[in-house]
Amino acid sequence: EDKVVQSPLSLVVHEGDTVTLNCSYEVTNFRSLLWYKQEKKAPTFLFMLTSSGIEKKSGRLSSILDKKELSSILNITATQTGDSAIYLCAVNAQGGSEKLVFGKGTKLTVNP
């Protein structure tokens, strides 16, 4: 059974801190790994990763995939209170069907 595990499940930091969120997976027919930010209801897309070692970057957020270790990290530097959210990792694992398997998410709280 395909599985995606995120750690930590929750994290509380102060503004300005740097955080690293982890995602590991055990899936067949890996195609891509996606990160989403969920603040209220709708997950908003952050990154899609398909190749190992190539960092994707958007402002203070960056992410990288390690296919050998079957894992990915999401880094957020100089955190702000607006970064408080649940960060979801998902893997496209069914080769052609586009179905996503989600982890449980990491709840990040950034305190002023």
Binding site: L34, A42, T44, F45, E98, L100, K104
Partner: protein, 115 residues
């Protein structure tokens, strides 16, 4: 990316009733999906909405409980039938567009509370 809307955004329903949730996209998309997110849990795929044919359901979800329609490339509905309090969840539609294959974008979600 495609602009996705869902109606209703939230609802409170009595047990035993049914609710139909609509998902509308502003452009044609290749694939549409329906997910459920129960309180404190992550997203679970209910089914893939197939245009012009029956939806493809994931293990644990059946058509009688969650009938789905997709009459064209921009619109889909999910009905939650004969509701019980366990159906209280956020229901989300997602789409894959022709321009961004492999990336799923999510609608704003429908928060459902069943009393």
């Amino acid at each position: 990316s495609a602009v996705i809307s869902q109606k209703p955004s939230r609802d409170i329903c009595q047990r035993g009733t049914s609710l139909t949730i609509q998902c509308q996209v502003d452009s044609q998309v290749t694939m549409m999906f329906w997910y459920r997110q129960q309180p404190g849990q992550s997203l679970t795929l209910i089914a893939t909405a197939n245009q012009g044919s029956e939806a493809t359901y994931e293990s644990g979800f059946v058509i009688d409980k969650f009938p789905i329609s997709r009459p064209n490339l921009t619109f889909s509905t999910l009905t939650v039938s004969n509701m019980s309090p366990e159906d209280s969840s956020i229901y989300l539609c997602s789409v894959v567009s022709y321009e961004a294959q492999e990336t799923q974008y999510f609608g704003p979600g429908t928060r459902l509370l069943v009393l």
